[in-house]
């Protein structure tokens, strides 16, 4: 071997033997990507993961001091107790709205995490209509709803513009804008809008013409409104031309553009709809439940909307069903707050646990694990 050769092939064969085969008593795990899994198996996998998530959550609550028997009976009462069930239905309306709001945003690949900020603005706009007596009383409710939607659209337009014009990540911008909206709300409620009657930081109570009417069974008009919008959004996503475009924007926007999908108009429409729907949620909470604008009326809805959209795989009809289930969680959370001093944010925690479990289950849906010995 010449010098040149020695330089080139510096390491002789001896290294090969020395390294040997790594000792692996269990062989090694091999992951294979599963292309398709029957739908029923997917449903079973997701259902199992939700049950696991609920179980983990229940354990945490039991450790926190909720007697297991109470836990079961509280949840059961959501369905079997008339009063609780009414509460669930009332609670479901805003959750449905934020759920479909999130799902339509996600369909356009826009992470609208500003649902709470848009709710805040919806509540502020509706309350402004109430405070300044805009329009005749008969038209007051529709005016409030429209004002709320316009405010929500305007608020979501900021991060949308930042994202579509400057490529600013909307996850962060929408979240940050929630804080801005909240402080603006505080400025109003601790300032000019403070209730002069009791000097608490909430607005004066709405007039009766400004409250969503009861439609019987203790349920207000928010629920039929929300359900009607579910149908609208469902039709929009599944049967309209824009909805067809939306599928391509979600699946492969670069390809979509090349085959003639008008990206900008479709994304803008979806994002503005998302903001308007969330803001409508911010209108039905004060108008349908509290009767006035309160400090924390929007709390917990933001992540709930994301969760509902995620579990419903961005399908509007499924979102309505999931929203009812989440409403049960809300109602249970409210009573635990009263009876066991469990903070209401436990609802958020349980939702997060369920999201993690379901997300993890997708791994087992998409992959097959094999051991190689």
């Amino acid at each position: 071997m010449s010098d040149r050769e020695a330089t080139l092939l510096a390491l002789p064969l001896s290294r090969a033997g020395a390294a040997g085969n790594g000792y692996r008593p269990f062989g090694r795990m091999i992951l294979e990507v599963r292309l398709d899994m029957p739908a029923w198996k997917q449903v079973v996998a997701v259902a199992c993961s939700i049950i696991i998530g609920m179980f983990i959550s229940a354990m945490i609550l039991v450790v926190s001091g909720v007697p297991p028997a109470e836990l079961v009976s509280e949840f059961a009462s959501n369905v079997f107790d008339r009063q609780s069930f009414q509460a669930v239905l009332v609670q479901a309306a805003p959750l449905i709205l934020v759920g479909i709001a999130a799902s339509i945003g996600f369909r356009a690949r826009f992470w609208n995490l500003g649902l709470e900020g848009q709710m805040v603005w919806g509540g502020i706009a509706a309350t402004a209509v109430s405070i300044y007596h805009v329009g005749p009383e008969v038209l007051r409710l529709p005016i409030m709803a429209i004002a709320a939607m316009l405010a929500g659209m305007a608020w979501v337009a900021i991060p949308a513009l930042l994202r579509l014009r400057f490529a600013v990540n909307e996850i962060i911008s929408t979240l940050l804008l929630n804080y801005v909206a909240t402080y603006f709300l505080y400025d109003l409620l601790y300032g000019s809008w403070k209730d002069p009657v009791d000097a608490f930081p909430h607005s004066t109570i709405y007039a009766s013409a400004e409250r969503l009417p009861d439609i019987g069974y203790g349920v207000n008009a928010a629920l039929p409104l929300a359900l009607a919008l579910v149908l609208v959004v469902w039709w929009y996503g599944e049967f309209s031309r824009f909805g067809f475009y939306l599928k391509f924007i979600y699946a492969n926007p670069a390809m979509g553009r090349l085959v003639g999908v008008p990206i900008m108009p479709v994304v803008w429409t979806a994002v503005l709809m998302s903001g308007a729907l969330a803001a409508l949620g911010g209108f039905v909470v004060p108008s349908g439940i509290a009767g006035r604008l309160t400090q924390g009326f929007f709390e917990g809805y933001g992540f709930s909307g994301v969760l509902i959209a995620f579990l419903a795989r961005n399908n509007a009809i499924a979102a309505a069903i999931v929203a009812v289930l989440i409403a049960m969680l809300f109602v249970t959370g409210q009573s635990f707050q009263i009876f066991y001093q469990i903070p209401f944010s436990m609802v958020q925690m349980i939702q997060a646990i369920i999201v993690m479990c379901v997300a993890a289950s997708e791994f087992f849906i998409r992959h097959r694990i094999r051991w190689q010995r």
Partner: protein
């Protein structure tokens, strides 16, 4: 006016520290390619754990901070399992982590009765005789231990990332996991370590907030600082020293809020409280307008790694 500026500058470092440590922690995990949106949640975990340790283990502030780091690191294992092993969408997992931590810390803080107890926390440590210097003494040499330690921590992390074999491999995994895999590196191991190590720093940032700055645990006390740290990492282009610069900027803004009130300038207080968030948005827009040239955004950021998958 002079007093106001001095007291503004004096408050600045301790307000900058949480931003600095949190964004540094995020840089470590993001350099390995794991997008970490969970900072807000991990800071809360650190904040609660710090106060809890302080209250439970006899009031040692440094021990409390170590517990804060450990707690955040332990919780981040959950995140690492989800995104590194189970390849869950990193945005979904990060958001879920934040909301889990928000609910969980609120619940634990209430049930264990750790909320709303003031503690004496970590005191300032004036460096005599430097602390007697006019102005500079107060601003630079009358801070607490963690403020002094922040600079060495930055030097250490920067050295680690740029001047060690392990740091080189970590960055390679974030840039091009296929190349790193072909070079025989264990992608999963490095990403796990980066997430856990980075999260410990995020936890320290949270612990600092509760044990050193606020000296109390209140549910949700981070109020968006974690998200600002996420934005700071983008602003910093994944460079530690630029993150420190950004942290100082945000510390300065935050320190200004009480000074404006003290100076009797009539700005509604809630509008003042909006400034950090608005400033963050402004900084993000500025960053994007300048373009991403020169950015060291890891090329594989946010992408789970799978070897056997065929494209």
């Amino acid at each position: 006016m002079h007093d106001i500026i001095v007291s503004w500058l004096t408050n600045l470092p301790s307000l900058a520290v949480p931003y600095a440590l949190a964004s540094l922690g995020l840089i470590i995990s993001e350099r390995s390619g794991v997008l970490s949106l969970g900072a807000e949640g991990l800071m809360l975990v650190g904040a609660l754990a710090g106060v809890a340790a302080y209250l439970s283990f006899g009031g040692y502030p440094l021990l409390a901070l170590v517990v804060a780091m450990v707690a955040a690191a332990v919780v981040s294992i959950l995140f690492a399992v989800l995104v590194v092993l189970l390849r869950v969408n990193q945005v979904i997992a990060g958001l879920a982590l934040v909301f889990f931590c928000q609910g969980f810390t609120n619940l634990v803080g209430t049930v264990a009765n750790w909320s709303n107890h003031t503690i004496s926390g970590l005191h300032t440590l004036p460096i005599y005789p430097l602390s007697e210097l006019p102005i500079v003494g107060r601003v630079l040499f009358s801070q607490d231990l963690i403020v002094y330690l922040t600079i060495p921590i930055f030097i250490a992390v920067s050295y680690f990332l740029n001047r060690t074999n392990t740091g080189l491999r970590l960055r390679a995994i974030g840039e091009n996991p296929e190349a790193a895999d072909a070079a025989g590196l264990n992608i999963y191991l490095y990403r796990f370590a980066a997430v856990i190590g980075g999260s410990a720093l995020v936890g320290l940032a949270g612990g600092y907030l509760s044990v050193v700055s606020a000296k109390i645990w209140i549910a949700g006390m981070t109020s968006g600082r974690g998200w600002i740290a996420v934005a700071l990492v983008i602003f910093a282009r994944w460079h530690p020293w630029r993150a420190l610069l950004g942290a100082l900027l945000f510390g300065a803004i935050e320190a200004l809020i009480p000074q404006v009130a003290a100076a009797a300038i009539r700005v509604p207080q809630y509008f003042m409280l909006m400034t950090p968030y608005v400033a963050t948005l402004a900084v993000m827009v500025w960053q994007e307008v300048r373009g991403r040239i020169g950015s060291d955004e890891p090329a594989a950021l946010g992408q789970p790694y799978v070897r056997e998958e065929r494209t």
